[in-house]
């Protein structure tokens, strides 16, 4: 059962690259990230059903974190056994684990962290998978059979991050490889980010393109989450850029608006620069 669910999860992860996000969601989950600590081991997650039909929701904790493959593509690393030393999936409890959210209403799922005795200080991670399924009868027709509408609704999964911090938690970041280059009309940045400390580096990355006078020409901002290593390949359109030499500045910091200030781990910002040439 668990393996099948993870397979489905992996399938949805794969689809993420090819599917445009739709505004239609079965349930709205808030917050999208939960931070727990040894002095604050519980939290509440709100589920809102904006649809016209009741939604059945199943709540499950699995261990996983985003990372990158050899080609620089991002994917969600799942550890089905939860044996990772940083896994909190086994001891983060959600109550209730199954529920129905009536249309237009809100329900609360409460989380409780119960780490085993002797758990070392540090940061532990899990993903809360909320699988919703409409209770509407899937096929509807008109009495005179003049026309038929067929709707086949499958599951919608919402995955949020849950982080548990015990004791002193720190984070830092180092960049092992930063060799940007321009290939045709594309600026390719493929830095290898390596996290230090015992907590994930959740932050932002600014890629700034400067001309020879040091004036900013372009800027791109990315959200980065470095749980261990992160070697993502970024490609930016630089069509229209004149031939010549440019400078690419990479700035990384934990300043991220969507993470509550109280939950941000302080870390020294990182800044690197490298030359690129547009033929």
């Amino acid at each position: 059962m668990m393996r099948n669910r993870l397979r489905t999860l992996a399938l949805t992860a794969a689809l993420w690259f090819g599917v445009l996000l739709s505004e239609a969601v079965a349930i709205v989950v808030a917050p999208t990230a939960v931070y727990l600590a040894d002095d604050n081991p519980s939290a509440a997650v709100s589920l809102y059903n904006p649809s016209n039909d009741p939604e059945e929701v199943t709540v499950e904790a699995v261990f996983g974190y985003p990372t990158t493959d050899e080609a620089g593509n991002i994917y969600l690393h799942i550890d089905p056994e939860g044996a990772d030393t940083r896994s909190a999936a086994g001891w983060i409890q959600a109550l209730p684990r199954r529920l129905v959210v009536p249309p237009g209403e809100r329900r609360v799922v409460r989380l409780l962290a119960r780490p085993p005795a002797g758990t070392p200080d540090g940061e532990y991670w899990t993903r809360l998978v909320l699988t919703s399924r409409g209770q509407r009868v899937p096929v509807a027709g008109t009495p005179d059979t003049a026309g038929v509408q067929v709707g086949l609704e499958l599951e919608v999964r919402t995955i949020i991050a849950v982080t548990y911090r015990k004791g002193a938690v720190t984070t830092s970041l180092s960049v092992e490889d930063f060799t940007p280059r321009i290939e045709g009309d594309t600026l390719v940045v493929h830095p290898e980010l390596v996290r230090g400390g015992n907590g994930a580096f959740i932050g932002r990355m600014d890629v700034i393109l400067l001309d020879q006078e040091g004036s900013e020409i372009r800027r791109w901002t990315e959200q980065v989450a470095v749980y261990r290593t992160y070697h993502r390949r970024y490609a930016y359109d630089v069509s229209g850029l004149e031939s010549g030499s440019y400078r690419v500045v990479l700035r990384l910091s934990t300043e991220r608006d969507d993470v509550p200030a109280a939950s941000r781990l302080p870390a020294a910002p990182v800044e690197l620069a490298a030359e690129v040439v547009r033929p």
């Binding site: 992860a13 993420w16 239609a24 999208t32 199954r98 129905v100 409780l112 026309g147 086949l152 959740i202």
Partner: protein
């Protein structure tokens, strides 16, 4: 992939993934949607304007979440043409479709007429032509289709068309009669389903210890200029004795330097479970009856210690259209609902409380018509419900010089819900004058909902009659006439110089649309043995935003029997408002001016006040009076966590300034915790509750050594909320003693979601002048889960949506559990105990199956480790054929 027959079909595949880029707001469910192309429909014949290339389509037409219908619609590009008659019918809009195809709709409230004429290609709204865009309407087979965007403008709607889901949704259903009806019916369900505050889960006695505690109020006052000669004090102590309240107080009469003190002592007890006697008071207090006076003696009564504001229910009947819905609202809250019968007659129950009851009767027609009527029902505090009888008896020594001893017997009886009779006697003994015995009789009641009458005769005292007329909240007229007797020498209960008084006052709100504009008028005439005094007053009060304007006229007439009649006219004006300050703070300010005889300045005064902190306020006032000259007053008041303080400086013109300091506070002693605490008070004649919220590890309901308290749990006591401290302790004071209060713990405030309160809401009686101890146990709950499967020819299959019931074998209470679409069921928050799980017969109707077991035992033990019990499999097997049995 085409699933459409004549019309568009759709296959919706929904998958989702979210937020693996930890944990950005971009996290959102992904939903892939694949829609087939629409097939061409037969060309639609139109008159005007012509719309070409229309596609036929089936849409799910929805009025919000309230109603839906699959309808045939047309589409051109991204525009949907909706069948207007079906939309109006679904929204319950009053409309007709003529043979010519013309649609006439009436929108309520306001009876606004909307006309759509497909032949002329025209539309109108409230008689005015409505500008139609090109290709706004189409007609096919006698059905008028109108572009959704046009319908939005015509009917003030928002329609969202989703081509991937094939839906057209009216997003604001409350605009339509259907939406308003559903809102109304939701209110109705709340009203009809409400059972008042409901019965508590348990009524439990409090552990009150030997004393429970004690409370002391203290007060010191001194003039800073001369502390030794001006200091005065007051101190009062209260304690619970034999379940009653013993209270003693001492205060200095004037400065302590004079050495004069007054000591009072009172013992009061309440029997709330008895009907013939409910209260007894010994010692210092007030007499019974309608004319209170200070007495040292005894007082007995069967009147409630705290009279409930709720009086009873009166009926209100009327007539509207047949079948109309009628609802009764008080303070914008629906309190009763009904539906008029075939003749349009209806009757509603009005819950009445003592005081002024403003009620609004709103009648709703079937197509959104609304008729509103306002009523005001006056209910004086001297009224009793029908057949209610109350008596009071008191007697003792007078505490002032008017008499040596006094007694009162007071009887009240509710003749009906509208009329109350009151009678009794007052008695006085006096040192030099003869004793008095003065029987009295009075009646009060209503003849119309807005007209209240009252009269009373006191032998040797007075004859009084009065009426109050208040047909609505916009008008109230009150008039009282009293004729005083001169037959008694040295009367105690009235001023011997008075012969009669006439009081009339009027309150009027001229404009219903501006209820904050108020006009008041009053006339008071006193006939004395030396002449007549009259006062005529008229004032207008108008509030505009944060600023209030007052203006008025007053005429004082003194017409002595001997001497000349004198008349004085005063013209007054005042402005009160909030002055904005930097930092979003505000300064309260008021200015007043008074002119004598419309020409000479009589008085002018200004005051400002500033809330320095939430507990500290500074007020400065200055003024000038024709007789007393100028003055300056500065007042600083502080409401601190442990005491209250008032410092006031008064500096009249020509006199040295005087600074007075008053400090007050309360000391509590809690016997259960053996702790002393300070508060700003006052604390006398109140009570408290304290205790622990704790984890009941052994399930015995008592806090045993080692059972931990819960930090931060929210305890609601009599509507007040307190949080437990780190030890799990809660503490509340300032509750009404002798009265029951409801106490419950908010489960969502408990950190561990597995913990639930053992009892829901409990009711306890507050002890006087002490703390009652209430320890509230919580326990570890459990989850249950399992599945329901039925035998089929292909094997076992889950039975979705089965209705189950989990019955607590200890209490007999049942809890509904509903299976999910996959046949699994799940329930959390199950408290320890023995239960049985049963499948309801309704779930099996027509299936021809029976459960293998009638009931499945479920034993939940106190289990802090959280290991859940095993899943439960409810297997349904084919029912035995008729005749198999035996």
């Amino acid at each position: 992939m085409t699933l459409g027959l004549r019309s568009r079909g759709a296959l919706l595949l929904a998958f989702g993934v979210l937020s693996w880029i930890h944990p950005g707001p971009q996290a959102a469910a992904a939903q892939a949607q694949v829609a087939t192309q629409a097939q061409p429909a037969p060309r639609v014949t139109l008159d005007a304007p012509v719309v070409s290339d229309l596609q036929e389509i089936l849409l799910d037409l929805r009025i919000g979440r309230l109603a839906s219908r699959t309808v045939r619609a047309l589409t051109e590009g991204s525009e949907a043409y909706l069948p207007v008659s079906e939309l109006l019918a679904l929204g319950e809009v009053d409309h007709t479709v003529e043979d010519t195809g013309v649609v006439r709709a009436v929108i309520h409230p306001g009876a606004r007429l909307v006309v759509l004429d497909p032949v002329a290609g025209q539309a109108s709204r409230e008689g005015r032509p409505f500008s139609l865009p090109a290709a706004a309407m189409a007609e096919d087979s006698g059905t008028l289709y109108v572009a959704a965007s046009v319908l939005e403008s015509l009917f003030d709607l928002t329609i969202r068309t989703d081509w991937s889901r094939l839906t057209a949704v009216v997003m604001d259903p409350q605009v339509l009669p259907l939406g308003r009806r559903m809102e109304r019916e939701a209110r109705w369900r709340r009203v009809t389903g409400a059972t008042g505050s409901g019965a508590p889960d348990a009524r439990i006695p409090l552990d009150q210890g030997r004393f429970g505690g004690a409370v002391v109020d203290w007060s010191l006052s001194s003039n800073v200029n001369d502390p030794s000669g001006t200091t005065s004090y007051a101190v009062g102590a209260g304690a619970r004795v034999f379940d009653g309240n013993l209270q003693m107080s001492s205060r200095s009469l004037g400065p302590t330097s004079t050495g004069e003190h007054q000591v009072d002592a009172t013992y009061q007890t309440v029997w709330s479970d008895r009907s013939w006697i409910t209260q007894m008071r010994l010692g210092d207090g007030f007499s019974s009856g309608p004319r209170l006076r200070s007495v040292r003696g005894i007082s007995l009564t069967n009147a409630p210690f705290v009279r409930r504001s709720f009086f009873g229910v009166d009926s209100f009947s009327g007539r509207v259209g047949p079948g109309w819905d009628v609802e009764l609202k008080q303070a914008n809250r629906t309190v009763d609902v009904t539906r008029a019968d075939e003749q349009g007659a209806f009757a509603l129950d009005i819950p009445l409380a003592y005081g002024t009851n403003s009620v609004e009767v709103v009648a709703f027609g079937p197509h959104g018509e609304i008729v509103t009527t306002e009523r005001l029902v006056l209910l004086g505090t001297d009224r009793l419900p029908a057949d209610a009888f109350e008596w009071s008896l008191s007697g003792g020594a007078c505490r002032d010089a008017r008499c040596a001893g006094t007694a009162n017997l007071d009887l009240r009886y509710g003749l009906s819900d509208r009329w109350t009779l009151r009678g009794g006697t007052e008695a006085f003994t006096r040192d030099t004058l003869p004793s008095l015995v003065q029987p009295y009789l009075g009646v009060t009641g209503v003849v119309l909902p807005g007209l209240q009458l009252a009269s009373e005769v006191l032998h040797g005292g007075f004859l009084r009659g009065g009426a109050t007329y208040a047909p609505s909240s916009r008008l109230r007229v009150r008039s009282v006439f009293t004729a005083f007797s001169s037959a008694v020498e040295g009367p105690v209960l009235h001023d011997a110089r008075r012969q009669s008084t006439t009081e009339t006052d009027v309150l009027f709100r001229p404009l219903a649309s501006h209820p904050r504009w108020l006009v008041r008028g009053a006339w008071l005439r006193q006939a004395l043995d030396s002449g007549t005094l009259s006062l005529i007053q008229a004032a207008s009060v108008f509030q505009l935003g944060n600023v209030g304007f007052e203006s008025g006229l007053r005429r004082d007439v003194d017409d002595p029997d001997l001497g000349a009649r004198s008349t004085r006219d005063y013209l007054t004006g005042a402005v009160t408002g909030l002055v904005p300050l930097p930092g979003r703070r505000k300064l309260w300010a008021r200015g007043e001016v008074e002119l004598l005889d419309a020409s000479a300045l009589q008085r002018v005064r200004g005051r400002v006040a500033y809330q320095v902190t939430p507990g500290a306020r500074l007020e400065i006032g200055s003024g000038w009076h024709r007789t007393f000259g100028a003055d300056l007053t500065v007042t600083f008041s502080a409401y601190l966590s442990q005491l209250r303080s008032l410092t006031q400086m008064v500096a009249p013109e020509g006199v040295s300034a005087r600074v007075t300091q008053v400090t007050q506070g309360t000391v509590h002693w809690n016997e259960a915790t053996r702790q002393m605490s300070l508060s700003p008070g006052p604390g006398l004649e109140r009570g408290g509750i304290s205790g622990y919220v704790f984890v009941d590890d052994n399930g015995n309901g008592v806090r045993d050594p080692g059972e931990p308290g819960l930090d931060g749990a929210r305890v609601v006591i009599g509507g007040r909320t307190v949080r437990t401290d780190a030890d799990g302790r809660h503490r509340t004071w300032d509750l009404v003693p002798f009265e029951p209060v409801r106490v419950w713990v908010d489960p969502s405030s408990i950190t561990d979601p597995r913990l639930v309160p053992v009892l829901g809401e409990v009711e306890v009686v507050v002890p006087p002048s002490s703390f009652g101890r209430l320890d509230i146990p919580v326990t570890f709950s459990q989850e249950i889960w399992g599945s329901v499967v039925r035998s089929t020819s292909q094997g076992e299959a889950p039975l979705p949506y089965a209705e189950l019931e989990l019955v607590d074998l200890g209490t007999g209470e049942g809890r509904a559990v509903r299976a999910f679409s996959d046949g699994d069921f799940y329930e959390s928050g199950i408290k320890p105990g023995r239960y049985e799980l049963r499948i309801t017969p309704g779930s099996l109707r027509g299936l021809g199956v029976v459960p293998e077991q009638d009931a499945y035992p479920v034993d939940i033990e106190v289990n802090p480790t959280g290991a859940p019990p095993d899943p439960i499999l409810i297997r349904l097997t084919p029912a035995p054929a008729v005749g198999d049995a035996g």
